[in-house]
Subunit: 253 residues, 2 copies
DNA sequence: GCAGTTTTGTGCGAATAGTCAACAAAGTAT
DNA sequence: ATACTTTGTTGACTATTCGCACAAAACTGC
Protein backbone atom coordinates (compact mmCIF):
# COMPACT_ATOMS: atom_id res chain seq x y z
CA UNK A 1 0.00 0.00 0.00
CA UNK A 2 1.30 3.42 -0.87
CA UNK A 3 2.48 5.88 1.71
CA UNK A 4 -0.20 8.53 1.59
CA UNK A 5 -2.98 6.06 0.91
CA UNK A 6 -2.30 4.04 4.01
CA UNK A 7 -5.36 5.47 5.71
CA UNK A 8 -7.85 5.12 2.89
CA UNK A 9 -10.71 2.73 3.44
CA UNK A 10 -11.54 1.04 0.20
CA UNK A 11 -14.87 -0.29 1.37
CA UNK A 12 -16.22 3.17 2.10
CA UNK A 13 -15.03 4.55 -1.20
CA UNK A 14 -16.66 1.68 -3.06
CA UNK A 15 -19.94 1.97 -1.22
CA UNK A 16 -20.21 5.69 -1.95
CA UNK A 17 -19.50 5.15 -5.63
CA UNK A 18 -22.25 2.53 -5.62
CA UNK A 19 -24.74 5.08 -4.28
CA UNK A 20 -23.73 7.53 -6.99
CA UNK A 21 -24.47 5.04 -9.75
CA UNK A 22 -28.18 5.46 -9.03
CA UNK A 23 -29.58 8.18 -11.30
CA UNK A 24 -32.89 9.20 -12.81
CA UNK A 25 -32.12 6.94 -15.77
CA UNK A 26 -31.20 3.98 -13.59
CA UNK A 27 -33.37 4.10 -10.50
CA UNK A 28 -33.56 0.32 -10.16
CA UNK A 29 -30.38 -1.65 -10.67
CA UNK A 30 -29.35 -5.28 -10.36
CA UNK A 31 -26.04 -6.35 -8.90
CA UNK A 32 -24.46 -6.75 -12.33
CA UNK A 33 -25.61 -3.33 -13.50
CA UNK A 34 -24.09 -1.64 -10.49
CA UNK A 35 -20.94 -3.67 -10.85
CA UNK A 36 -20.58 -2.58 -14.48
CA UNK A 37 -21.47 1.04 -13.71
CA UNK A 38 -18.77 1.57 -11.14
CA UNK A 39 -16.19 -0.95 -12.23
CA UNK A 40 -16.34 -3.08 -9.13
CA UNK A 41 -16.25 -6.82 -8.97
CA UNK A 42 -19.73 -8.28 -8.83
CA UNK A 43 -19.01 -9.88 -5.50
CA UNK A 44 -17.95 -6.52 -4.10
CA UNK A 45 -20.88 -4.65 -5.60
CA UNK A 46 -23.16 -7.27 -4.10
CA UNK A 47 -21.67 -6.82 -0.65
CA UNK A 48 -21.95 -3.04 -0.91
CA UNK A 49 -25.60 -3.27 -1.94
CA UNK A 50 -26.46 -5.80 0.76
CA UNK A 51 -24.76 -3.57 3.30
CA UNK A 52 -26.73 -0.54 2.09
CA UNK A 53 -29.93 -2.57 2.26
CA UNK A 54 -29.07 -3.82 5.73
CA UNK A 55 -28.54 -0.23 6.90
CA UNK A 56 -31.81 0.93 5.39
CA UNK A 57 -30.27 3.02 2.61
CA UNK A 58 -31.53 0.65 -0.08
CA UNK A 59 -34.41 -1.73 -0.74
CA UNK A 60 -33.94 -5.15 -2.28
CA UNK A 61 -36.72 -7.16 -3.86
CA UNK A 62 -34.52 -10.18 -4.58
CA UNK A 63 -33.55 -8.87 -7.99
CA UNK A 64 -33.29 -5.11 -8.06
CA UNK A 65 -32.00 -2.55 -5.61
CA UNK A 66 -33.50 0.92 -5.15
CA UNK A 67 -32.38 3.74 -2.89
CA UNK A 68 -34.59 4.74 0.04
CA UNK A 69 -35.33 8.24 1.37
CA UNK A 70 -32.87 7.48 4.13
CA UNK A 71 -30.11 8.38 1.69
CA UNK A 72 -31.46 11.91 1.74
CA UNK A 73 -30.23 12.19 5.31
CA UNK A 74 -26.69 12.16 4.01
CA UNK A 75 -27.33 15.09 1.70
CA UNK A 76 -29.32 17.08 4.20
CA UNK A 77 -26.68 16.42 6.82
CA UNK A 78 -24.51 18.45 4.51
CA UNK A 79 -27.00 21.22 3.67
CA UNK A 80 -27.74 21.58 7.37
CA UNK A 81 -24.09 22.24 8.15
CA UNK A 82 -24.01 25.23 5.82
CA UNK A 83 -24.90 28.53 7.46
CA UNK A 84 -25.39 30.12 4.04
CA UNK A 85 -28.87 28.77 3.16
CA UNK A 86 -30.47 29.95 6.41
CA UNK A 87 -28.81 33.35 6.18
CA UNK A 88 -29.71 34.10 2.57
CA UNK A 89 -33.21 32.63 2.43
CA UNK A 90 -34.98 35.69 3.94
CA UNK A 91 -32.95 38.07 1.78
CA UNK A 92 -33.72 35.93 -1.24
CA UNK A 93 -37.45 35.85 -0.49
CA UNK A 94 -37.51 39.64 -0.19
CA UNK A 95 -35.49 40.17 -3.36
CA UNK A 96 -37.61 37.76 -5.33
CA UNK A 97 -40.86 39.37 -4.21
CA UNK A 98 -39.54 42.86 -4.85
CA UNK A 99 -38.44 42.04 -8.40
CA UNK A 100 -41.32 39.67 -9.13
CA UNK A 101 -38.94 37.06 -10.51
CA UNK A 102 -37.32 33.84 -9.29
CA UNK A 103 -34.00 34.08 -7.53
CA UNK A 104 -31.53 31.44 -6.38
CA UNK A 105 -28.22 30.95 -4.60
CA UNK A 106 -25.72 28.29 -5.60
CA UNK A 107 -22.21 27.11 -4.88
CA UNK A 108 -19.60 25.35 -6.98
CA UNK A 109 -18.92 21.61 -6.85
CA UNK A 110 -16.49 20.37 -9.46
CA UNK A 111 -17.85 21.47 -12.83
CA UNK A 112 -21.39 21.90 -11.50
CA UNK A 113 -23.27 24.54 -9.60
CA UNK A 114 -25.43 23.24 -6.77
CA UNK A 115 -28.52 25.15 -5.71
CA UNK A 116 -28.59 25.76 -1.95
CA UNK A 117 -31.49 28.19 -1.73
CA UNK A 118 -34.25 29.33 -4.04
CA UNK A 119 -37.21 31.67 -4.03
CA UNK A 120 -39.48 30.81 -6.94
CA UNK A 121 -41.78 33.50 -8.24
CA UNK A 122 -43.02 32.15 -11.52
CA UNK A 123 -42.09 29.15 -13.52
CA UNK A 124 -39.53 29.95 -16.18
CA UNK A 125 -37.47 26.83 -16.59
CA UNK A 126 -38.76 23.57 -17.93
CA UNK A 127 -36.68 21.62 -15.44
CA UNK A 128 -37.60 21.87 -11.79
CA UNK A 129 -34.93 23.43 -9.62
CA UNK A 130 -34.65 22.89 -5.92
CA UNK A 131 -31.90 22.99 -3.31
CA UNK A 132 -29.50 20.20 -4.24
CA UNK A 133 -30.24 20.49 -7.96
CA UNK A 134 -27.26 20.70 -10.28
CA UNK A 135 -26.52 22.49 -13.53
CA UNK A 136 -23.23 22.71 -15.42
CA UNK A 137 -21.28 25.81 -14.39
CA UNK A 138 -19.96 26.86 -17.81
CA UNK A 139 -23.35 27.82 -19.27
CA UNK A 140 -25.09 29.34 -16.25
CA UNK A 141 -24.81 32.89 -14.97
CA UNK A 142 -24.05 31.74 -11.43
CA UNK A 143 -21.52 29.25 -12.68
CA UNK A 144 -19.67 31.92 -14.67
CA UNK A 145 -19.54 34.23 -11.69
CA UNK A 146 -18.15 31.42 -9.54
CA UNK A 147 -15.61 30.27 -12.12
CA UNK A 148 -14.54 33.89 -12.68
CA UNK A 149 -13.64 34.02 -8.99
CA UNK A 150 -11.15 31.16 -9.32
CA UNK A 151 -7.50 31.29 -10.43
CA UNK A 152 -7.26 30.65 -14.18
CA UNK A 153 -5.39 27.37 -13.75
CA UNK A 154 -8.19 25.98 -11.59
CA UNK A 155 -10.77 27.04 -14.18
CA UNK A 156 -9.15 25.04 -16.96
CA UNK A 157 -9.06 22.02 -14.70
CA UNK A 158 -12.74 22.30 -13.84
CA UNK A 159 -13.81 22.77 -17.44
CA UNK A 160 -11.91 19.62 -18.38
CA UNK A 161 -13.85 17.59 -15.80
CA UNK A 162 -16.93 17.37 -17.98
CA UNK A 163 -17.88 17.89 -21.64
CA UNK A 164 -19.26 21.26 -22.70
CA UNK A 165 -22.36 20.45 -24.73
CA UNK A 166 -24.26 23.19 -26.56
CA UNK A 167 -27.50 23.10 -24.61
CA UNK A 168 -29.04 25.60 -27.01
CA UNK A 169 -27.91 27.19 -30.27
CA UNK A 170 -26.61 30.14 -28.22
CA UNK A 171 -24.45 28.20 -25.75
CA UNK A 172 -20.78 29.18 -25.60
CA UNK A 173 -18.74 25.98 -25.82
CA UNK A 174 -15.28 27.10 -26.90
CA UNK A 175 -12.97 26.99 -23.85
CA UNK A 176 -11.06 30.05 -25.05
CA UNK A 177 -14.23 32.08 -25.50
CA UNK A 178 -15.39 30.97 -22.07
CA UNK A 179 -12.13 32.00 -20.40
CA UNK A 180 -12.42 35.41 -22.08
CA UNK A 181 -15.99 35.71 -20.87
CA UNK A 182 -14.89 34.88 -17.31
CA UNK A 183 -12.36 37.71 -17.46
CA UNK A 184 -15.11 40.10 -18.56
CA UNK A 185 -17.38 38.86 -15.77
CA UNK A 186 -14.60 39.34 -13.22
CA UNK A 187 -14.15 42.95 -14.31
CA UNK A 188 -17.81 43.95 -14.46
CA UNK A 189 -18.80 42.05 -11.31
CA UNK A 190 -21.80 40.27 -12.78
CA UNK A 191 -22.66 37.71 -15.46
CA UNK A 192 -25.56 37.65 -17.88
CA UNK A 193 -26.48 34.46 -19.70
CA UNK A 194 -28.95 34.81 -22.53
CA UNK A 195 -30.72 31.56 -23.39
CA UNK A 196 -27.59 29.43 -23.18
CA UNK A 197 -29.08 26.96 -20.69
CA UNK A 198 -32.54 26.84 -22.16
CA UNK A 199 -34.28 28.79 -24.88
CA UNK A 200 -36.52 31.48 -23.46
CA UNK A 201 -34.54 31.91 -20.26
CA UNK A 202 -32.27 34.80 -19.35
CA UNK A 203 -30.38 35.08 -16.11
CA UNK A 204 -28.15 37.58 -14.31
CA UNK A 205 -25.86 36.65 -11.43
CA UNK A 206 -23.53 38.33 -8.94
CA UNK A 207 -20.99 36.77 -6.59
CA UNK A 208 -21.69 36.66 -2.86
CA UNK A 209 -18.74 37.47 -0.61
CA UNK A 210 -18.04 36.82 3.04
CA UNK A 211 -16.73 39.54 5.32
CA UNK A 212 -13.17 38.69 4.27
CA UNK A 213 -14.00 39.32 0.62
CA UNK A 214 -13.86 35.68 -0.46
CA UNK A 215 -16.42 34.49 -3.02
CA UNK A 216 -18.55 31.93 -1.21
CA UNK A 217 -21.55 31.60 -3.52
CA UNK A 218 -23.47 33.21 -6.36
CA UNK A 219 -26.98 34.65 -6.55
CA UNK A 220 -29.07 34.99 -9.68
CA UNK A 221 -32.36 36.30 -10.98
CA UNK A 222 -33.93 34.34 -13.81
CA UNK A 223 -36.51 35.74 -16.16
CA UNK A 224 -38.44 34.68 -19.23
CA UNK A 225 -36.74 36.06 -22.35
CA UNK A 226 -40.08 37.45 -23.51
CA UNK A 227 -40.40 39.64 -20.41
CA UNK A 228 -37.07 41.45 -20.25
CA UNK A 229 -34.31 42.21 -22.75
CA UNK A 230 -30.78 41.22 -21.76
CA UNK A 231 -29.49 44.79 -21.38
CA UNK A 232 -32.61 45.82 -19.50
CA UNK A 233 -31.74 43.30 -16.79
CA UNK A 234 -28.81 45.36 -15.60
CA UNK A 235 -30.99 48.38 -14.93
CA UNK A 236 -33.96 46.47 -13.51
CA UNK A 237 -32.36 43.79 -11.34
CA UNK A 238 -28.68 44.50 -10.70
CA UNK A 239 -29.08 47.35 -8.17
CA UNK A 240 -31.28 45.30 -5.84
CA UNK A 241 -28.95 42.31 -6.21
CA UNK A 242 -25.93 44.43 -5.28
CA UNK A 243 -27.87 45.52 -2.22
CA UNK A 244 -28.37 41.94 -1.09
CA UNK A 245 -24.73 41.21 -1.87
CA UNK A 246 -23.63 44.03 0.46
CA UNK A 247 -26.04 42.99 3.19
CA UNK A 248 -24.94 39.38 3.14
CA UNK A 249 -21.28 40.34 3.16
CA UNK A 250 -21.79 41.76 6.63
CA UNK A 251 -23.56 38.62 7.82
CA UNK A 252 -21.10 36.02 6.60
CA UNK A 253 -18.45 35.09 9.16
CA UNK B 1 -19.46 -13.60 12.04
CA UNK B 2 -23.14 -14.40 12.01
CA UNK B 3 -24.86 -16.06 9.09
CA UNK B 4 -26.88 -13.19 7.70
CA UNK B 5 -24.22 -10.60 8.42
CA UNK B 6 -21.54 -12.36 6.43
CA UNK B 7 -21.88 -9.89 3.58
CA UNK B 8 -21.94 -6.67 5.56
CA UNK B 9 -19.10 -4.27 4.93
CA UNK B 10 -18.13 -2.66 8.20
CA UNK B 11 -16.13 0.10 6.59
CA UNK B 12 -19.06 1.36 4.56
CA UNK B 13 -21.43 1.28 7.52
CA UNK B 14 -18.97 3.19 9.66
CA UNK B 15 -18.27 5.79 7.01
CA UNK B 16 -21.97 6.51 6.48
CA UNK B 17 -22.53 6.86 10.20
CA UNK B 18 -19.65 9.31 10.25
CA UNK B 19 -21.35 11.45 7.58
CA UNK B 20 -24.57 11.45 9.58
CA UNK B 21 -22.84 12.82 12.67
CA UNK B 22 -22.50 16.15 10.90
CA UNK B 23 -25.49 18.33 11.79
CA UNK B 24 -26.39 22.00 11.97
CA UNK B 25 -25.17 22.01 15.58
CA UNK B 26 -21.88 20.30 14.70
CA UNK B 27 -20.86 21.45 11.26
CA UNK B 28 -17.14 21.28 12.04
CA UNK B 29 -15.87 18.29 13.95
CA UNK B 30 -12.49 17.02 15.04
CA UNK B 31 -11.54 13.37 14.89
CA UNK B 32 -12.29 12.85 18.57
CA UNK B 33 -15.71 14.47 18.33
CA UNK B 34 -16.71 12.22 15.45
CA UNK B 35 -15.29 9.23 17.27
CA UNK B 36 -17.37 10.03 20.34
CA UNK B 37 -20.49 10.84 18.30
CA UNK B 38 -20.66 7.51 16.52
CA UNK B 39 -18.92 5.27 18.99
CA UNK B 40 -15.96 4.41 16.78
CA UNK B 41 -12.37 4.12 17.85
CA UNK B 42 -10.46 7.31 17.22
CA UNK B 43 -8.17 5.50 14.83
CA UNK B 44 -11.14 4.20 12.84
CA UNK B 45 -12.93 7.55 12.79
CA UNK B 46 -9.73 9.12 11.57
CA UNK B 47 -9.46 6.72 8.68
CA UNK B 48 -13.10 7.25 7.73
CA UNK B 49 -12.63 11.02 7.74
CA UNK B 50 -9.38 10.90 5.80
CA UNK B 51 -11.07 8.66 3.26
CA UNK B 52 -13.98 11.07 2.91
CA UNK B 53 -11.54 13.95 2.52
CA UNK B 54 -9.54 12.01 -0.05
CA UNK B 55 -12.70 11.37 -2.08
CA UNK B 56 -13.76 15.01 -1.89
CA UNK B 57 -16.71 14.49 0.41
CA UNK B 58 -15.00 16.36 3.24
CA UNK B 59 -12.51 19.16 3.79
CA UNK B 60 -9.74 18.99 6.38
CA UNK B 61 -7.86 22.00 7.69
CA UNK B 62 -5.50 19.96 9.83
CA UNK B 63 -7.79 20.12 12.82
CA UNK B 64 -11.45 20.11 11.82
CA UNK B 65 -13.39 18.29 9.14
CA UNK B 66 -16.37 19.77 7.28
CA UNK B 67 -18.61 18.20 4.65
CA UNK B 68 -18.43 19.45 1.07
CA UNK B 69 -21.26 19.97 -1.42
CA UNK B 70 -20.15 16.75 -3.04
CA UNK B 71 -22.08 14.92 -0.32
CA UNK B 72 -25.23 16.41 -1.84
CA UNK B 73 -24.71 14.16 -4.83
CA UNK B 74 -25.55 11.21 -2.66
CA UNK B 75 -28.85 12.68 -1.55
CA UNK B 76 -29.87 13.97 -4.94
CA UNK B 77 -28.94 10.64 -6.48
CA UNK B 78 -31.87 9.40 -4.44
CA UNK B 79 -34.32 12.24 -5.19
CA UNK B 80 -33.52 11.86 -8.88
CA UNK B 81 -34.51 8.21 -8.83
CA UNK B 82 -37.99 9.04 -7.64
CA UNK B 83 -40.52 9.62 -10.38
CA UNK B 84 -42.92 11.19 -7.88
CA UNK B 85 -41.38 14.69 -7.59
CA UNK B 86 -41.38 15.31 -11.35
CA UNK B 87 -44.92 13.99 -11.72
CA UNK B 88 -46.49 15.97 -8.91
CA UNK B 89 -44.64 19.26 -9.27
CA UNK B 90 -46.86 20.66 -12.05
CA UNK B 91 -50.03 19.52 -10.26
CA UNK B 92 -48.72 21.04 -7.05
CA UNK B 93 -47.90 24.35 -8.71
CA UNK B 94 -51.40 24.55 -10.16
CA UNK B 95 -53.07 23.62 -6.88
CA UNK B 96 -51.02 26.08 -4.92
CA UNK B 97 -51.76 28.93 -7.30
CA UNK B 98 -55.45 28.06 -7.43
CA UNK B 99 -55.81 28.04 -3.64
CA UNK B 100 -53.35 30.85 -3.03
CA UNK B 101 -51.57 28.85 -0.33
CA UNK B 102 -48.41 26.76 -0.04
CA UNK B 103 -48.64 23.08 -0.82
CA UNK B 104 -46.17 20.23 -0.40
CA UNK B 105 -45.69 16.51 -0.99
CA UNK B 106 -43.78 14.28 1.40
CA UNK B 107 -42.97 10.65 2.05
CA UNK B 108 -42.26 8.70 5.21
CA UNK B 109 -38.74 7.80 6.42
CA UNK B 110 -38.64 6.21 9.84
CA UNK B 111 -40.41 8.58 12.21
CA UNK B 112 -39.95 11.56 9.91
CA UNK B 113 -41.66 12.93 6.87
CA UNK B 114 -39.34 14.07 4.09
CA UNK B 115 -40.43 16.80 1.70
CA UNK B 116 -39.98 15.77 -1.93
CA UNK B 117 -41.81 18.62 -3.66
CA UNK B 118 -43.13 22.00 -2.64
CA UNK B 119 -44.93 24.95 -4.15
CA UNK B 120 -44.60 27.95 -1.85
CA UNK B 121 -47.18 30.68 -2.11
CA UNK B 122 -46.60 32.80 0.97
CA UNK B 123 -44.39 32.32 3.95
CA UNK B 124 -46.27 30.74 6.84
CA UNK B 125 -43.71 28.72 8.71
CA UNK B 126 -40.79 30.16 10.62
CA UNK B 127 -38.56 27.31 9.48
CA UNK B 128 -37.67 27.10 5.81
CA UNK B 129 -38.98 24.00 4.09
CA UNK B 130 -37.48 22.58 0.93
CA UNK B 131 -37.24 19.19 -0.74
CA UNK B 132 -35.18 17.04 1.60
CA UNK B 133 -36.37 18.86 4.71
CA UNK B 134 -37.63 16.71 7.58
CA UNK B 135 -40.32 17.09 10.19
CA UNK B 136 -41.53 14.54 12.75
CA UNK B 137 -44.48 12.55 11.39
CA UNK B 138 -46.61 12.39 14.55
CA UNK B 139 -47.45 16.10 14.69
CA UNK B 140 -47.81 16.94 10.99
CA UNK B 141 -50.88 16.50 8.81
CA UNK B 142 -48.92 14.64 6.12
CA UNK B 143 -47.24 12.46 8.73
CA UNK B 144 -50.59 11.45 10.20
CA UNK B 145 -51.99 10.56 6.81
CA UNK B 146 -48.93 8.44 6.09
CA UNK B 147 -48.91 6.72 9.48
CA UNK B 148 -52.66 6.09 9.16
CA UNK B 149 -51.90 4.13 6.00
CA UNK B 150 -49.61 1.69 7.83
CA UNK B 151 -50.59 -1.45 9.78
CA UNK B 152 -51.05 -0.58 13.48
CA UNK B 153 -48.08 -2.67 14.60
CA UNK B 154 -45.76 -0.75 12.30
CA UNK B 155 -47.11 2.55 13.63
CA UNK B 156 -46.21 1.73 17.23
CA UNK B 157 -42.73 0.80 16.11
CA UNK B 158 -42.23 4.05 14.24
CA UNK B 159 -43.50 6.17 17.10
CA UNK B 160 -41.06 4.47 19.43
CA UNK B 161 -38.12 5.42 17.18
CA UNK B 162 -38.07 9.00 18.42
CA UNK B 163 -39.42 11.02 21.33
CA UNK B 164 -42.74 12.86 20.91
CA UNK B 165 -42.07 16.36 22.16
CA UNK B 166 -44.90 18.88 22.50
CA UNK B 167 -43.81 21.39 19.89
CA UNK B 168 -46.63 23.71 20.90
CA UNK B 169 -49.22 23.70 23.68
CA UNK B 170 -51.64 22.01 21.27
CA UNK B 171 -49.42 19.11 20.18
CA UNK B 172 -50.85 15.63 20.74
CA UNK B 173 -48.16 13.57 22.45
CA UNK B 174 -50.02 10.65 24.04
CA UNK B 175 -49.39 7.55 21.89
CA UNK B 176 -52.93 6.25 22.57
CA UNK B 177 -54.51 9.52 21.51
CA UNK B 178 -52.35 9.54 18.40
CA UNK B 179 -53.34 5.99 17.45
CA UNK B 180 -57.01 6.96 17.87
CA UNK B 181 -56.44 10.03 15.69
CA UNK B 182 -54.82 7.86 13.01
CA UNK B 183 -57.92 5.66 12.97
CA UNK B 184 -60.10 8.73 12.51
CA UNK B 185 -57.83 9.99 9.72
CA UNK B 186 -57.98 6.62 8.00
CA UNK B 187 -61.79 6.72 8.00
CA UNK B 188 -62.25 10.30 6.85
CA UNK B 189 -59.45 10.20 4.29
CA UNK B 190 -57.71 13.40 5.37
CA UNK B 191 -55.90 14.86 8.37
CA UNK B 192 -56.08 18.35 9.82
CA UNK B 193 -53.41 19.59 12.19
CA UNK B 194 -54.18 22.82 14.01
CA UNK B 195 -51.07 24.58 15.31
CA UNK B 196 -49.44 21.41 16.61
CA UNK B 197 -46.20 21.93 14.68
CA UNK B 198 -45.98 25.66 15.14
CA UNK B 199 -48.34 28.26 16.56
CA UNK B 200 -50.16 30.11 13.83
CA UNK B 201 -49.99 27.30 11.32
CA UNK B 202 -52.81 25.03 10.21
CA UNK B 203 -52.47 22.26 7.68
CA UNK B 204 -54.68 19.74 5.88
CA UNK B 205 -53.32 16.64 4.15
CA UNK B 206 -54.58 13.79 1.99
CA UNK B 207 -52.82 10.56 1.00
CA UNK B 208 -51.59 10.11 -2.57
CA UNK B 209 -52.16 6.68 -4.09
CA UNK B 210 -50.65 4.90 -7.03
CA UNK B 211 -52.79 3.12 -9.60
CA UNK B 212 -52.77 0.00 -7.44
CA UNK B 213 -54.25 1.90 -4.51
CA UNK B 214 -51.11 1.89 -2.37
CA UNK B 215 -50.32 5.01 -0.36
CA UNK B 216 -47.08 6.35 -1.79
CA UNK B 217 -46.97 9.89 -0.38
CA UNK B 218 -49.00 12.65 1.22
CA UNK B 219 -49.92 16.13 0.01
CA UNK B 220 -50.81 19.07 2.20
CA UNK B 221 -51.94 22.69 2.09
CA UNK B 222 -50.61 24.90 4.86
CA UNK B 223 -52.22 28.15 5.86
CA UNK B 224 -51.77 30.87 8.49
CA UNK B 225 -54.19 30.26 11.37
CA UNK B 226 -55.35 33.86 11.11
CA UNK B 227 -56.53 33.37 7.53
CA UNK B 228 -58.69 30.26 7.72
CA UNK B 229 -60.49 28.42 10.54
CA UNK B 230 -59.79 24.71 10.88
CA UNK B 231 -63.27 23.57 9.80
CA UNK B 232 -63.28 26.01 6.90
CA UNK B 233 -60.26 24.24 5.43
CA UNK B 234 -62.33 21.20 4.51
CA UNK B 235 -64.70 23.24 2.38
CA UNK B 236 -62.07 25.55 0.89
CA UNK B 237 -59.17 23.23 0.16
CA UNK B 238 -60.20 19.58 0.34
CA UNK B 239 -62.15 19.36 -2.96
CA UNK B 240 -59.22 20.63 -5.04
CA UNK B 241 -56.83 18.35 -3.17
CA UNK B 242 -59.04 15.32 -3.85
CA UNK B 243 -58.95 16.33 -7.51
CA UNK B 244 -55.15 16.25 -7.58
CA UNK B 245 -55.20 12.97 -5.67
CA UNK B 246 -57.39 11.40 -8.35
CA UNK B 247 -55.32 12.82 -11.19
CA UNK B 248 -52.06 11.57 -9.74
CA UNK B 249 -53.50 8.15 -9.07
CA UNK B 250 -53.83 7.67 -12.81
CA UNK B 251 -50.25 8.82 -13.44
CA UNK B 252 -48.48 6.69 -10.87
CA UNK B 253 -47.28 3.36 -12.19
C1' DG C 1 -35.83 -29.58 -24.12
C1' DC C 2 -31.32 -28.26 -24.45
C1' DA C 3 -27.22 -25.79 -25.19
C1' DG C 4 -25.53 -21.05 -24.91
C1' DT C 5 -25.46 -16.85 -22.45
C1' DT C 6 -26.04 -13.98 -18.68
C1' DT C 7 -26.58 -13.30 -13.97
C1' DT C 8 -26.13 -14.49 -9.15
C1' DG C 9 -24.08 -16.87 -5.16
C1' DT C 10 -20.02 -18.93 -2.66
C1' DG C 11 -15.17 -20.73 -0.98
C1' DC C 12 -10.44 -19.58 -0.54
C1' DG C 13 -5.88 -17.39 -0.35
C1' DA C 14 -4.09 -12.76 -0.26
C1' DA C 15 -4.68 -8.31 1.16
C1' DT C 16 -6.95 -4.95 4.08
C1' DA C 17 -9.23 -2.85 7.92
C1' DG C 18 -10.29 -2.82 13.06
C1' DT C 19 -8.85 -3.00 17.76
C1' DC C 20 -5.88 -2.09 21.26
C1' DA C 21 -2.12 -0.09 23.29
C1' DA C 22 1.64 2.89 23.38
C1' DC C 23 3.40 7.28 22.35
C1' DA C 24 3.73 12.18 21.17
C1' DA C 25 1.82 16.66 21.14
C1' DA C 26 -1.08 20.15 22.60
C1' DG C 27 -3.90 22.28 25.71
C1' DT C 28 -5.67 23.00 30.93
C1' DA C 29 -5.64 23.23 35.49
C1' DT C 30 -3.22 23.36 39.73
C1' DA D 1 6.44 25.21 35.97
C1' DT D 2 4.53 20.83 36.60
C1' DA D 3 1.16 17.40 36.45
C1' DC D 4 -2.98 16.11 34.24
C1' DT D 5 -6.32 15.66 30.31
C1' DT D 6 -7.39 15.46 25.83
C1' DT D 7 -6.22 14.62 21.16
C1' DG D 8 -3.83 12.91 17.10
C1' DT D 9 -0.75 9.39 15.29
C1' DT D 10 1.63 5.06 14.77
C1' DG D 11 2.53 0.05 15.04
C1' DA D 12 1.44 -4.79 15.88
C1' DC D 13 -1.76 -8.35 15.96
C1' DT D 14 -6.12 -10.33 14.77
C1' DA D 15 -10.25 -10.66 12.24
C1' DT D 16 -12.50 -9.41 8.28
C1' DT D 17 -13.04 -8.26 3.54
C1' DC D 18 -11.55 -8.38 -1.59
C1' DG D 19 -11.44 -10.28 -5.78
C1' DC D 20 -10.64 -14.28 -8.32
C1' DA D 21 -12.35 -18.56 -9.89
C1' DC D 22 -15.85 -21.67 -9.90
C1' DA D 23 -20.73 -23.41 -9.13
C1' DA D 24 -25.55 -22.64 -9.46
C1' DA D 25 -29.41 -20.58 -11.26
C1' DA D 26 -32.13 -17.84 -14.47
C1' DC D 27 -32.99 -16.38 -18.90
C1' DT D 28 -32.30 -16.88 -24.25
C1' DG D 29 -33.04 -18.55 -28.63
C1' DC D 30 -33.61 -22.37 -31.22
Amino acid sequence: MSLQERDIMGGLAKGLSVIETFTAERPRQSISEVSAACGLDRATARRCLLTLAHLGYADYDGKFFTLTPRVLRLGTACLATMPLPQLVQPLLDRLSEQLGESSSVSILDGADIVYVARAAQRKVMSIGLMPGSRLPAYCTSMGRVLLAGLPEAAVGERLSLAPLPARTSRTLTDPKALIAEFARVRLQGYAIVDQEVELGLRSIAVPLYNSRGQTVAAMNVGVAASRTEADEMIRLYLPAMIGVQAELRKLMR
